[in-house]
Symmetry: none
Subunit: 272 residues, 2 copies
């Protein structure tokens, strides 16, 4: 999306670690870093990657998420990668015959946030491109996190799974939904100005004969007023709409005047 604001610095706040177990493609490490960066995650750990690190393809695919790539740590085993964490979740799409609680991303994020807020560290395990996580890796986790996908069409790749978890973490962490920009609505105008618009319009419509009969007028007026009121018009918008009414109402006057001015100019010219 065209939207990067490069003027802002990044703050390395406490956040869940993302652990990729034996990632095969360097590109997927890069797109994972990039997905993380969108939502403020930065702690990326890779376990026994297929290719040596640093990895050109990963760096290229990470785009601007250098601050994540620079901090990547490589481990020989998943046990070492999660050694310092107090809470570990395993992300998996397939059902596992295991005595593990299963959470959706929202609950998973909430639980991680509680732990992190309490000064503990949390992390999420993601598996291999083709085979996901092995059972013994899932067994190391406190719980399974899975996504509410349509069973017949589950096709999340690693970066997408990381993106969803990162997004939910951001959602839950900023429960007030911190958006990069907020509502672009000017304040609603004082009721007095709205009524001014109503009266202007209704006076005009009385002159143009819009209200067919006197007894129908009150209902028609109420309905028009209700429609405009719902728009929560600002002062500027009311001013513009009154200009619209005037422009249409008085066009024939302007055109009449222009025609008369043109006539007068012609008459003056023919006299010369």
């Amino acid at each position: 999306m065209a939207g990067t604001d490069k003027s802002q610095e990044f703050t390395f706040r406490p956040s869940p670690a993302i652990i990729l177990c034996e990632p095969q493609l360097g590109e997927n490490i890069g797109t994972t870093a990039r997905a993380m960066a969108n939502f403020g995650l930065w702690d990326l750990r890779i376990v026994n990657p297929r290719d040596p690190w640093p990895n050109e393809r990963a760096i290229a695919a990470a785009s601007r998420a250098d601050h994540v790539i620079d901090k990547v740590r490589v481990f020989a085993t998943v046990e070492e990668a999660i050694a310092d964490l107090q809470l570990v979740f395993a992300t998996t799409a397939r059902r596992r015959d295991m005595q593990k609680p299963v959470y959706g991303p929202e609950e998973g994020a909430q639980r991680m946030i509680s732990h992190i807020a309490g000064g503990e560290k949390a992390g999420l395990l993601f598996g291999r491109e083709k085979w996901g996580l092995y059972n013994e890796e899932v067994a190391l986790a406190d719980a399974i996190v899975t996504f509410p996908v349509e069973a017949a069409f589950a096709s999340l790749n690693i970066a997408q799974a990381v993106l969803l978890m990162a997004y939910e973490w951001r959602q839950q962490a900023d429960k007030g939904e911190v958006l990069p920009f907020s509502g672009g609505l000017d304040p609603t105008a004082p009721r007095e100005e709205l009524i001014g618009l109503f009266l202007h319009l209704e006076e005009t419509l009385d002159r143009t004969g819009f209200f067919k009969t006197e007894d129908k007028r009150p209902t028609m007026v109420d309905n028009l007023r209700a429609a405009f009121a719902r728009a929560q018009l600002s002062t500027q918008e009311i001013r513009t709409l009154r200009g619209v009414i005037s422009s249409i109402d008085r066009a024939h006057l302007r055109q009449g005047r222009k025609a008369r001015e043109a006539e007068a100019a012609k008459a003056t010219k023919s006299k010369d």
Copy 2:
């Protein structure tokens, strides 16, 4: 992720339409379809794609999301693509100087679900790979939806943005907490009728000389449309407002005709 359960059928439940405006790369159409399929979305509409449809690259990238690709509809303009919808959101990363409410994905999803539960149709606009949506496209929407991304590292591509919205839709839909419709409101008219009102008004204002200069016209049009769009006008209200425009616009014609008829009547009378 290795997790597809092919034994399950897909049910085409009411869900938001995903509208891609002038997608450049066929691959992105395919990955969008695939992202949608994860969370049960199936109504994909593309507006004036760069390449002809069907598109080999899109089909290849869609993987198993055939049921989405098969239902893709192609439109020449965004107006046609959203004609049947009552609620339209525009997804954008950049701030727009426009009188539009801004929601995060969660609130956006909740609002779409309310409308859909009430029998109306909703849709999300996504822009071009490099340039996102044009202002006049955003102006056609009821509100903007944006993602809570780190401003310095916003790098969501189209499929990721679609994935997040699809995920939130699924999240909110499964909550079972459908916000009740505001009592007493007629359903919002399909977007096509609202656009009819816009064109009627703008054509009239072109004739009356409301738009002082050509370069100011686009912004003024967008602002007027934004004001009317917020009112969530019903079919009847749109009809009434078009009657209002006609009444004011053509009053001088009626008055002119009445004056001529009165003259003719006087002339006839004086002959008797």
